[in-house]
């Protein structure tokens, strides 16, 4: 085996099975592995109980099984300033933010990377389902082999120049294999349930959580023609294409959220999953980040995802002169494109980069009612 004992890899360990197996694989490959738990959020309750405690204890148990040093680092302030504020601001603006994308950009692959470098790390590793691969002398980010778990969507905003410093050992595995490895090595987290939802909300009620930070302003639910169909609890609780929780009865097809009017506090609803108002044919993307050296300056065709775990869609990208924005035209009309979410571009398995969906268009007219 190649002697890697002088190559230090700092692994972000969350106390979950994925990052546990990440550390395991690196240790087996002979690296000098250091496990670090990131404490990004303080939810200590009145009894002094905080959910991070249990996760950290699991990190400690697994790290001790692997005989690697482990530590905890506190990024609460950075997380609050860079991720949570953005999250609240976006909701205030009537959009649907993606805190995981922001967390990868600002915390895991920035603050945490800096921390790893300060510890003399040669590489930073995480348990993301994605791959970093050198192709024709260029380090690129590829989709994870497990298509169902592929997380490149969330990684679209990380800077290209750090890719050579990143290891994603799970990228070549599928989730089942990861679980099996954890069980085979009897890791303490082998049967631990995967975490769901946004990390700082956890298992709690999303509506309740958000209302602690943003005052809810109830208002009218109306059709695009202005027919009042009921009351909404606050625009931030709804996302485009949503069916649940509208409480509109009556005959005909079910009702769906098709848009928001932040200024007048109106939630637009229409009937039918395939209602015309849910469909668009292009979007304006901002904050573009490219994960390839040759930043596109001319229009090109590729595939794109508009939300996580969605099928790829054929699109043509028209880069703006400033290269930080682009117009993305869909080959076929797409349903429920949501401002605030990421649009991520692919060439086969290569993740080219992505941006934030700023505006959505149909026949060159902005869908103004999308917030």
């Amino acid at each position: 085996m190649t002697d890697r004992s002088n190559i230090r890899v700092v692994v972000g360990m969350s106390g979950g099975v994925d990052s546990s197996v990440t550390a395991l694989l690196l240790k087996e490959q002979g690296y000098d592995v250091v496990g670090i738990f990131m404490k990004n959020w303080d939810d200590t309750d009145e009894f002094g109980v905080c959910t991070a405690t249990e996760d950290y204890e699991d990190v400690a148990r697994v790290a001790n099984q692997l005989n690697i040093p482990y530590y905890s680092v506190n990024f609460e302030k950075q997380y609050w300033d860079k991720v949570f504020q953005y999250f609240l601001d976006e909701y205030k603006a009537g959009r649907t933010p993606n805190p995981d994308v922001m967390c990868n950009k600002e915390i895991k692959f920035k603050a945490f990377l800096d921390h790893a470098v300060s510890l003399g790390a040669d590489y930073l590793a995480t348990g993301h389902y994605a791959q970093v691969d050198e192709q024709n002398g260029e380090v690129k980010m590829l989709r994870g082999v497990d298509r169902n778990k592929d997380q490149t969507y969330f990684l679209n905003q990380i800077p290209k120049d750090i890719l050579p410093k990143i290891l994603f050992p799970l990228g070549e595995l599928d989730k089942k294999e990861v679980r099996e490895l954890a069980k085979k090595h009897e890791l303490a987290t082998a049967t631990k349930k995967d975490s769901t939802g946004i990390c700082f909300i956890g298992e709690r009620n999303f509506k309740e959580f958000l209302s602690e930070y943003l005052p809810a302003q109830p208002g009218n639910m109306e059709t695009l023609n202005g027919e009042v169909k009921g009351k909404h609890d606050g625009l931030m609780y709804y996302t485009i294409g949503q069916r649940q929780g509208l409480g509109i009865g009556g005959a005909g097809d079910p009702w769906f959220v098709v848009g928001k009017n932040v200024k007048d506090n109106i939630l637009y609803v229409e009937q039918g999953f395939h209602h015309d108002a849910l469909y668009s044919d292009s979007l304006q993307a901002v904050d573009l980040n490219w994960l390839i050296t040759d930043v596109p300056t001319e229009p090109f065709s590729c595939t794109a995802k508009f939300r996580y775990r969605q099928e790829d869609h054929a699109v043509t990208v028209y880069p703006a002169n400033n290269l930080k924005e682009a117009s993305v035209v869909f080959d076929e009309a797409e349903r429920a494109i949501t401002p605030g979410q990421a649009v991520v571009f692919y060439d086969g398995d290569i993740c080219l980069g992505g941006g934030t969906i700023e505006e959505v268009f149909k026949e060159n007219k902005p869908l103004a009612y999308l917030g």
Partner: protein, 382 residues
């Protein structure tokens, strides 16, 4: 890797003599000291001998020593026990902002129970001021607790002066002497406190044992209920084997106190001298003339405490800073916060080095060299 342990204020290894003594006793003295048969008496003999020795070590009487599970329990018993026994005399209690959590948190609990608590501030020297103390002391003050030596900065507090002030006052005076006991001889006649806490594992004894000195003339209400052990002040079968180890640790301390003190002085002075002569940009926290010889708290400019501690550990050097939260991350030290205010950079770049009897000058050299390497890298990345 060769490891260097510089965290003796957190805990110490077992003294060789303690290991031998405990090994020897592990198969003997199994009887319950409360039993009225041969086996009980044999163990009782060991326990009495230890109690006598412990009492003598601070010039106290045999019946003034209450064995507890350690410093935390001794502090809890002192605070809750004495306050409860004296609650008819007033509602006001005094402590300092820089106490160990085993004192601070009980006081916060007293606050929740309705007592009026004054937390004495400290200045940048790291000590409370007698002027503040005099200002805050009231006729209805029933209890005062101020530590002898601070565990983070090593700064000694004016406990003699407080004891003197309280000579003709109703307030009971407790001092947490956990850090002081291993570096200075304490005599409860010269330092006339009512209650005093000592822990075994800070003086090369086993964990899980400590004692509370309780002056025979004051009242303390028991906090643990059960059997009649420790004259009912601390129910529960005595941790005999640990007491044996504690006893031996105290005997060794008595023999070695002066040489240990000199050794700590040599190490910490040399450490400071070499740091100042090196490329490390640092400053010592707290007034140096008031510092106990075994603790040096150092601020490293333009660095980050979490990065410092992890880097040092990866280089095999064990030190600490403040206290870790349950999720392992480091909370800013309440002691440095009290000294410098919440916004000061030193809260986030300070490390405590605490020396022990087995450290040597080679250790100091390696630590300073390593600090040079680490801090210059961290400053470059800052």
């Amino acid at each position: 890797m060769d490891y260097i342990y510089l965290d003796h204020a957190a805990t110490t290894p077992l003294h060789q003599s303690v290991q031998s003594e405990m090994k020897e006793m592990i198969s003997k003295a199994f009887g319950n000291p409360s039993s009225i048969h041969h086996f009980g008496r044999e163990t009782r003999k060991v326990l009495d001998r230890a109690r006598e020795n412990v009492a003598t070590s601070i010039n106290a009487k045999f019946n003034e020593i209450i064995f507890t599970s350690g410093g935390t329990e001794a502090n809890n018993l002192a605070i809750f026990g004495a306050v409860e026994a004296n609650k008819d005399k007033g509602n006001h209690v005094i402590t300092s902002e820089i106490e160990h959590h085993a004192v601070l948190h009980p006081f916060e609990e007293l606050e929740r129970k309705g007592y009026e608590v004054t937390y004495l501030p400290v200045d940048t020297s790291g000590t409370i001021s007698m002027a503040d103390f005099q200002k805050e002391l009231r006729d209805d003050t029933i209890f005062v607790s101020v530590m002898t030596v601070n565990n983070e900065t090593g700064i000694r507090q004016p406990v003699e002066k407080i004891a003197d002030q309280l000579k003709d006052h109703q307030a009971i005076f407790h001092t947490d002497a956990v850090q002081a006991y291993g570096v200075e001889s304490i005599d409860v006649n010269e330092l006339p406190v009512d209650l005093l806490t000592v822990s075994s594992h800070k003086i090369y004894g086993p964990k899980g044992i400590g004692f509370l000195y309780k002056n025979h003339s004051i009242h303390v209400k028991q906090q643990l209920f059960g059997g009649e052990q420790e004259r009912k002040w601390r129910s529960g079968t005595e941790n005999v084997l640990a007491i044996v180890g504690f006893d031996q640790a105290i005997r060794s301390l008595k023999e070695e106190l002066n040489s240990r003190k000199k050794h700590y002085e040599k190490l910490s002075n040399e450490f400071i001298k070499q740091l100042q002569a090196s490329d490390v940009i640092c400053s010592i926290n707290g007034e140096t003339s008031l510092r106990s010889p075994h603790i040096v708290n150092v601020s490293f400019e333009q660095t980050d405490v979490e990065q410092l501690l992890m880097n040092l550990d990866l280089e095999g050097i064990a030190v600490s800073s403040g206290s870790a939260c349950t999720a392992g991350s480091i909370n800013p030290s309440h002691v440095l916060t009290a000294m410098y205010g919440e916004e000061d950079a030193r809260l986030r770049n300070s490390v405590r080095f605490s020396f022990g009897k087995d450290n040597n000058l080679d250790d100091i050299k390696r630590v300073v060299n390593t600090l040079e390497k680490i801090t210059s890298r961290l400053r470059r990345l800052a």
